[in-house]
Symmetry: none
Subunit: 240 residues, 2 copies
DNA sequence: CGCGCCTTGACACCGCGTTGACAGACCCGG
DNA sequence: CCGGGTCTGTCAACGCGGTGTCAAGGCGCG
């Protein structure tokens, strides 16, 4: 699996669309984009994305029409409506064309990402083809719950909380399991392009993850150091 | 068991009813439907569904009357009231007709499904007969009575009143137990789309709930803070 | 008109992210 | 096999943003 999920952004306002696309790409999603309803519908039908972020007010074809057409043609993507606070919303909530969630404009990117992840986690519509992030992931002896921000060690039975950054980092390691990732890559992909912390910060967070996930943090089995290069993640635990 | 559960939808507005029926069928439920109170009651008595989604404003016989008749005849289905935000709800809570939950219109399908699942989970004690949710929920050492707007602490013995907003918030936490909910989501789902208070309001209400429910409000066991993200609810109380 | 609840701003406090320092580990060349 | 240089593990401390809490204001409800 190369990307966590494929997401189609249908939004006509250029700055907002670009912001969304950038943020989603930075999170490791594969992103498609369209600036009007017709293009969005066509792209969705052609590419079959996992998630569609759908604005309501669109040129050529409004969001409702697009959504109706999608459901009619059995596109089983998770659809998140991006709506301005207003009367259209009554229609959405009232009888529901089959949207999975809605986000009221203006929203923060962080909130949107939370919603997208929640939708993916939920993605339990019984539709084949959607084998997405199941919300809870086993890492050796630890069970990580991304929805609850917790990890439980099945050996010692302790349940500990994980911070946002720790989960972000772990999520990225999971998405590129087995690859050796250097610190610069991790900083770019997990911290983003706005922050430029030192590389020691990465070490620190790896340390914290080891303490919470590894049975013996001094003998890591999952978060492995590759001297002179970076870190490699192995979910199962390479050695005894 | 062929279907997860049998659900009766009693709702006179055609588009909404059809949307509900479709969504529930898509989720694997077996669905019965009725467009007015009399038909709904008759169907419930004849078929004995597991869950009833009951509108309040109905032709021929209103929802309260239907609910009363159901309980009188010992129909032990889980009943979810579909109600507009308003004074009718006070009557539901005040008179304790035996509803298991309520959903405020307008609602999203997703929200409704969560509530239905939560109700099924709660009500599924595997015991036939009248094993109804008494409208009282235990949260650790506290016993919350949704009908009476009160909470009693079984350790300290104090009985305190809860305001409507506090109960709304608690109810939402209960419906999504274990998930970390960010403040924007809480504002959207609990406060609704008409007013948009600041996020500090959420903190304030969490504080008030802690004081009334937690044995030691400064060391919360049930309403947990996840720094930089939001709050997570845990009914049992994770730690000692 | 009074009461209670919701809401908000203020302020103190706390947790997390971040960093520099230092010791130990590792690699490579000699 | 040894030594120097570099990289990594770990700690303690700092600063910022997020959160707990209070008290005052406002609003609706009775």
């Amino acid at each position: 699996m190369t990307a966590e999920a494929r997401i189609l952004v249908v939004e006509d306002e250029e700055p907002l669309r670009m912001a969304l696309v950038d943020a989603l790409r930075a999170e490791g999603f594969e992103v498609l984009e369209a600036a009007d309803g017709e293009a969005g519908l066509a792209l969705a039908l052609a590419e079959g994305p996992d998630v569609v972020l759908l604005d309501l007010m669109l040129p050529k074809r409004d969001g409702f029409s697009v959504l109706r057409a999608l459901r009619k043609d059995r596109v089983d993507a998770l659809v998140l409506i991006l709506s301005a606070r207003g009367e259209e919303w009554d229609r959405v909530q009232g009888f529901e064309y089959g949207a999975d969630d809605y986000v009221v404009k203006p929203f923060s990117i962080r909130e949107l990402l939370l919603r997208v992840r929640a939708a993916l986690r939920r993605g339990d519509r019984g539709v084949p083809g959607l084998q997405l992030d199941p919300g809870r992931v086993r890492v050796g002896a630890a069970l990580v719950d991304f929805a609850a921000y917790t990890a439980e060690r099945t050996d010692g039975g302790e349940q500990v909380g994980l911070s946002r950054k720790e989960l972000d980092l772990l999520r990225y390691f999971l998405s590129r399991e087995g690859e050796v990732l250097d610190r610069a890559t991790l900083l770019n992909e997990v911290w983003g392009r706005d922050d430029f912390p030192s590389t020691r910060t990465v070490d620190m967070h790896v340390l914290k993850l080891r303490r919470k996930l590894e049975p013996d943090p001094e003998q890591p089995r999952h978060l492995l150091t590759v001297h002179g290069v970076g870190y490699r993640f192995d979910r199962r635990g390479s050695e005894g």
